[in-house]
Symmetry: D2
Subunit: 147 residues, 4 copies
Amino acid sequence: MQIAVVGGGECSLHVREVAEELGRLLAEEGHTLLCGGLGGVMEAACRGSAEAGGTVVGILPGERGDANPHVGIKIATGMGHARNAIIVRSSDAVIALPGGYGTLSEIALALKMNRPVISLESWDIAGTVKARDPREAIEILNRLLYI
Amino acid sequence: MQIAVVGGGECSLHVREVAEELGRLLAEEGHTLLCGGLGGVMEAACRGSAEAGGTVVGILPGERGDANPHVGIKIATGMGHARNAIIVRSSDAVIALPGGYGTLSEIALALKMNRPVISLESWDIAGTVKARDPREAIEILNRLLYI
Amino acid sequence: MQIAVVGGGECSLHVREVAEELGRLLAEEGHTLLCGGLGGVMEAACRGSAEAGGTVVGILPGERGDANPHVGIKIATGMGHARNAIIVRSSDAVIALPGGYGTLSEIALALKMNRPVISLESWDIAGTVKARDPREAIEILNRLLYI
Amino acid sequence: MQIAVVGGGECSLHVREVAEELGRLLAEEGHTLLCGGLGGVMEAACRGSAEAGGTVVGILPGERGDANPHVGIKIATGMGHARNAIIVRSSDAVIALPGGYGTLSEIALALKMNRPVISLESWDIAGTVKARDPREAIEILNRLLYI
């Protein structure tokens, strides 16, 4: 499956560890990681997935050179925040970590497009499912995707 | 100025009246109305502006034929919800009325792009400014734009 | 009708005069001018239309501040060359003046989307209709649109 | 490297064989194949690459379900022909096979964005480099990319 991980371009050390573990678990489950390809949460999730041998896709707002070093496949949209809609549309489900208004826009677009959204310490929006940690996020994901 | 009005593609009679009055006031202030060009809140705001002689721009997710009958200038993006980013980027300020996740995505994108967001009975997101009615929304708008 | 004028961001004095006359004639026919909103052919067409009292829409690759001074309604797409598809999709017909590869992409997209394309000293691509001067371009346009 | 193959959504048996061989050779060189993800030239190139073990990315105009069966990573842009700009922007070079106006728009955008364009029996546009067969296309590609 193609699973999007969204979250801030900057983040705390704690969130970085959560994102990295999540990326690793997604790779171990055989999922392709989609994300915005930049720093912070995105970079940590990419590193976790890439180091576990997973496929990592960055859907970038600008050029390929903006990608963090763990992105394998670089999609350069050149369309700024409008690329958030492509991340969401391309995903089977979205896992949201802490982030700002950009992350909120991705949660909203995902709910609008009927993608399951799992919130891991992220925005508290009606329609999302909360998970306490990456392992629970994966359990919820599997339950949502395979029923 | 170019002012975006965002809100649901379907709405109650009360919200319809609010949107129509807002559209009328925006036109009377000399503002160009930007919106998604479809029904509900968008259509009511367009009607209000158009009937008051204002310029009405619809930035449509699909084709020009999808526009409500009060849209004067029809921008057919053909890019679905990703067009929300264009509505926001093209505006000096955003006024949000009741709506669903699409409206929430527009509020989030507007805050991300540092556009002032006035919430008229819409989502309660940190960073927005609340207005009780269209007249107060216009007062807040003028205060935000002309200082 | 919404008529797109496409052409180079830089142009010769001769082309500038042709574009300006074309813009003026489009306004006199009551058409709304759509273009990319930047310099060269776009700016000259905008000036011609604006000075004749026409409605001028710039669908910009970046921000509103990039628009030439004759654009009335500024659509800031923030999506670079991908905005060419929006210019074309929003138009009833496209008139192409001399320009480079960006202009060629607009001609190609217009033909792909079944928009009539009138070539005024522009790329010689099968499917376009040639006009010798702005007046003939308008005659061809009227014949294509009103039959 | 990420190499885009562009061409018609329908094609002759001969072109299909050329596209499939090209896809195979690209995979053997270790390149990731980018394309529009649909039928015709795109499908044949995808099959060639996928059967040779290559990575195949489809940047789709609509939804993931539109992809041909050989696409591995499915990017659903939902933005129609405007996605052509993303295919080009994401590539190190573009190889064009026979196709219609959509293909021409991709050639034009590639030249506009300074991507090398190799034409394999495709549109004859100044700025492209002609190759007679897939093997020569790869030779030209390597010369262009590694100098």
